[in-house]
């Protein structure tokens, strides 16, 4: 299998599906001639024309609202939000409209739309180009929320998201775009939404995480392996719905659990994973469920020292894992 970056896998996923399915189109700021600020749509306007790869005005509610209408009238739109931080003006269209359309119409209408947005920090993006605000949507019934950690998953999940009859939020860790490489088949394949993946097997501590933090967790797990502790790393991939079965299975098997994410912890994905474990694994637990994530501050600052302070590093994880191991 050819090796590709996370970004290439995403671009290829869109390109291939647009070749296969005329209904797929992209609407977003700078997706045309510029090919997106990260290059995700590079070359697509040239191949598919200005109507299927449309530069949008600077108005996120417009981008999502128009995609909703187009989706209801037979298209399969992808709304690209330039940075996840800027999805806020579109929250009404996403949460009040897209998420509730099928339910409120008693299955008469659906919104087959993908909203793509890069998230996460560590790239000196400061307060508004570094956030991880996925939690805001992970509690919203009617939405599916996906975060791939590998190029293989990125393409396979994205293709599936484009084929889904309902709205899918597809969040891409921007630090992964060029730094994460992996094997990606050239041909058509999909990865099922709603399932977690085992990124590493182990039976001492179960680590639950997603996005680029999967790689951080793997690194920390290797360090512990040197001392004979085997961590299981579960890549959640699907943040809504969470793969409860996979979570419970790994937590029960290991008896010790660390949940980690880049986002701040309060009322987040980590809270829900923790709550699931507390509900369903009580008799299997050998230690308190531990969580490591961003601090409770509004966002990641710009100055290098402050940004570093924010981020969950392999060191921080390692320390937490050793504590858990010793419990």
């Amino acid at each position: 299998m050819p090796s590709k970056t996370y970004l290439e896998a995403i671009r290829e996923g869109m390109r291939d599906e647009m070749r296969r399915d005329e209904r797929v189109m992209i609407l977003g700021e700078d997706v045309g001639a510029k090919g997106g600020v990260f290059g995700a749509t590079d070359g697509l306007q040239k191949e598919f024309g200005e109507w299927r790869v449309m530069d949008a005005p600077l108005a996120e509610s417009c981008i999502v609202g128009v995609c909703i209408g187009a989706a209801m009238n037979g298209m399969r739109p992808i709304a690209e939000i330039q940075f996840q931080d800027f999805i806020m003006p579109a929250v009404d269209q996403i949460v009040s409209e897209a998420a509730k359309m099928r339910y409120r119409s008693n299955n008469d209408w659906g919104v087959p739309m993908v909203v793509r947005a890069p998230f996460g920090g560590g790239i000196h993006g400061a307060l508004y180009h570094s956030q991880s605000i996925e939690a805001m949507f992970c509690g919203v019934p009617g939405l599916k929320v996906v975060v791939p950690s590998t190029p293989y998953d990125a393409k396979g999940l994205l293709v599936n998201a484009m084929r889904d009859p309902d709205p899918v939020l597809f969040f891409e860790h921007k630090r992964a775009y060029r730094s994460v490489r992996g094997e990606v088949p050239d041909d058509d394949y999909t990865v099922p939404l709603g399932t977690a993946a085992l990124a590493r097997e182990g039976d001492d501590i179960a680590i639950f995480t997603y996005g680029i933090m999967v790689h951080t967790a793997l690194e920390a797990a290797e360090r512990l392996a040197e001392d004979g502790f085997e961590c299981e790393v579960v890549d959640l991939r699907s943040l809504r719905p969470l793969d409860r079965e996979a979570i419970v299975a790994s937590a029960r098997k290991c008896g010790k659990v660390l949940v980690t994410q880049e986002a701040n912890l309060a009322v987040s994905v980590s809270s829900e994973v923790s709550a699931i474990v507390a509900e369903d694994c009580f008799e299997y637990l050998d230690a308190p469920v531990m969580r490591i994530g961003g601090p409770e501050i509004p966002a990641m600052p710009y100055a290098h020292a402050l940004e570093s302070f924010y981020l969950v590093t392999p060191d921080k994880l390692e320390a937490a894992l050793r504590k858990l191991a010793a419990y």
Binding site: W51, S61, C62, V66, G69, A71, N73, S105, P141
Partner: protein, 335 residues
Amino acid sequence: MAVVKPDFANREGLDVETLRAMYRHMLRSRVLDERMWVLNRQGRAPFWISAMGHEAIQVAVGMNMDPARDWLAPYYRDLALTLVMGMTPRDHLLSALAKAEDPNSGGRQMPAHYGSRTHNIISTGSPVTTQFLHAAGIALAMRIRGEDAVCVTAIGEGGTSGGDFHEALNFAATHKLGVVFVVENNGYAISVPLEKQMPTPNVSDRAVAYGIPGVHVDGNDAIACYRSARDAVARARSGAGPTLLEAKVHRLTSHSSDDDQRRYRSAEDLEAERKQDCLPRFRTLLEDLEVLAPGDYDTMRAELVAELDEATAYAEAAPDPLPDTAMRYVHAEDA
């Protein structure tokens, strides 16, 4: 049967059938609307939000659409418009009584939250203004596929204060999409009068901002409504782009069955508006034109009431949704 006086017919391009159909649509909406209030006062329908006073523009717009290919993104006052598009009093009574069979939402939404895939009427939620962007998206899909179809969307003047109004007009105008943006300006957003909502009297003035035609019309004048709706729909269909079409209407009832407008409006105002009601005015015109012969009105009304009685009986007998169906259709189920 009467014929339209030639000068009128020629001037307006309207024949007897069209004129009678217009009036019949308006009356059908009105008698249904009246029934809803009765059911509400009887405690049988907990909520109603009325189209009374808005019928002329709605019927005018609907009659210029082609239900086979055109689309509607309505708002909650568009009872008459949904009827013209093919929905029935029975459909809406099933909704008012929150029955499982309600085609709008299966009893999930409040009444007057319209929607029907069969009739190209997209499902309406409560948040105002969002539908304007959906209309732009619907028309974008038409444009991409090269269809000569039109999407109509409607809103109250209150809803035009929201950001989505601007974003939708801007997008649709930029790409010359086939949308008719209808504003039913009744001067109030619940209790907030126009002058506290916006600085100018006409929403249609905003068309200048988007380089599109902005038209305002007396919403109590059915013929004027028809004329401007015809132009706007034709323009959209021709590929020339959207129109902002504003009808000055009166809200002849309180905002909804939960509101009492006597708290914030004077009795004189309400009385004055009632006198301009589009229905009697149109009826008088049609009688003057001899399009409606003596007795026609009574016959028409009796027919409509009979239809309504049947629909009411049907809806009342229809089963409620079963409790655990609440879990269904969060996502597509056949996937």
